[in-house]
């Protein structure tokens, strides 16, 4: 049985379930992932609207990317057009947040690299994640 792992893109650096679950196939993995999205979103839909859950199979291929907004039942009362706008807007916000997080990570990495090269103290890690990525 393939092992499915999950990455949550949220408002910060994101979190993951790297242990994952063994599930019979991708279709069941998709339904499982949708359940997870609903459980995370339930009762706080507005604040998770730009989140996304990524599903990986056997640690390699990303098989699904589920935007929370797509499963948001609190938007069901909207007309198709309004719903579409809400989804596009959430996607834009997601894209902005992704860019912002990458930029922020890059700037922090640059600061640490510069400080290190000058022999000054530098921030090596934040919450278990290395600031200087891909360090040999």
């Amino acid at each position: 049985m393939p092992r499915y792992t999950f990455k949550l893109r949220d408002d910060d650096y994101g979190v993951e379930d790297s242990n994952g679950v063994n599930l019979p196939d991708a279709e069941i993995a998709y339904r499982y992932a949708c359940d997870v999205v609903r459980e995370l979103m339930n009762a706080r839909e507005p604040s998770t609207r730009s989140w996304q859950l990524e599903v990986y199979e056997d640690g390699q291929d990303k098989v699904f990317e589920i935007p929370f907004v797509a499963l948001d039942q609190t938007l069901d009362h909207l007309s198709a057009q309004m719903r579409d706008m809400a989804e596009r807007s959430a996607r834009q916000i997601r894209s902005f947040k992704d860019t912002y997080q990458v930029t922020r990570a890059t700037i922090r990495e640059a600061k640490s690299l510069v400080a290190r090269s000058r022999g000054k103290p530098y921030l090596a890690a934040d919450r278990g994640r290395k600031i200087i990525r891909n360090d040999p």
Binding site: F6, L8, D10, D12, Y13, V15, E16, D17, N19, G20, V21, Y32, D35, V36, E39, L40, N42, A43, R44, R127
Partner: protein, 254 residues
């Protein structure tokens, strides 16, 4: 939640009038029960009443579809099966040990007979059950309307209070069962809590690092329920005005 002091390690036993404790003493035994032990199954007769000292019992409502939902947590603040003192014979929920530890247990009949002889003991049991009922109402509302991150934080705080320990021996799977969430959801939520410095976890164990911060992540239900038990406790010991938990609440300007 006020920490029980005294020989019993369980607040209800501590609060029992002395003459009743004398009657109960020879029927009370202290046991260690492991996780998954079913104390009383749903719909079964209450044959033993359990008073946790360091373990934690979950009251679970099984559903026909096989999934179960947790209806309450019982630790050192209370007991499971006390309704036997009213003559009520069956337990509605399944009482299952969630966190292994120590428990006092006593057969139902000796307990019922002893409590019957004392108005004070009966009043204690009534007030306790009243408190549990209020808690059940709050939990019902919580499970219906609060999001999973808050419910998880609330559960962890309650479990820590009720086992008297910030280190909880339980798996994410079990936590998922109790909160009606997929294991992956628990993992992702736990990672968020870890990122905020509130907990640390490893296989089979969750440690609370910063209670105040964790309370910030929980819904108000946690403090509302804690207040219920504080009041219950204060009623029992009106002479003890100040205790750790109460001090914190006295400082709280809200």
């Amino acid at each position: 939640m006020a920490q029980p002091i005294g020989r019993w390690g369980n607040q209800l036993l501590e609060a029992m009038p002395q003459p009743i404790i004398q009657l109960l003493q020879e029927s009370l035994s202290h046991v260690t029960l492991s996780q998954g032990f079913v104390c009383i199954d749903a719909g079964d007769a209450i044959e033993q009443v359990y008073f946790p000292t360091s373990g934690l019992i979950s009251l679970v409502i099984p559903s026909r579809e096989g999934e179960s939902a947790e209806a309450g947590l019982v630790g050192l603040e209370g007991a499971v099966g006390l309704q036997i003192t009213f003559g009520r014979r069956l337990l509605f929920a399944r009482a299952i040990v969630q966190i292994a530890g120590g428990f006092y247990k006593i057969p139902a009949e000796p307990l019922r007979r002893a409590v019957e002889t004392s108005e004070e003991a009966k009043a204690l049991v009534y007030r306790y059950i009243e408190t549990r009922l209020a808690e059940a109402h709050q939990l019902g509302a919580c499970n219906a309307s609060h999001h999973s991150a808050m419910r998880l934080a609330r559960w962890l705080l309650q479990a820590a209070d009720r086992t008297g320990s910030n280190r909880l021996a339980l798996t994410q799977e079990l936590l998922g069962d109790m909160l009606g969430l997929r294991r992956t959801t628990i993992t992702l939520l736990a990672e968020h809590l870890k990122d905020r410095g509130t907990i640390r976890y490893s296989r089979g164990k969750i440690s609370i690092l910063d209670r105040d911060a964790l309370q910030g992540c929980a819904c108000d239900c946690y403090s509302v329920i804690r207040e219920l038990y504080s009041r219950f406790d204060a009623d029992l010991h009106p002479q003890n005005v100040s205790r750790v938990g109460d001090e914190r609440q006295a400082l709280d300007m809200r």
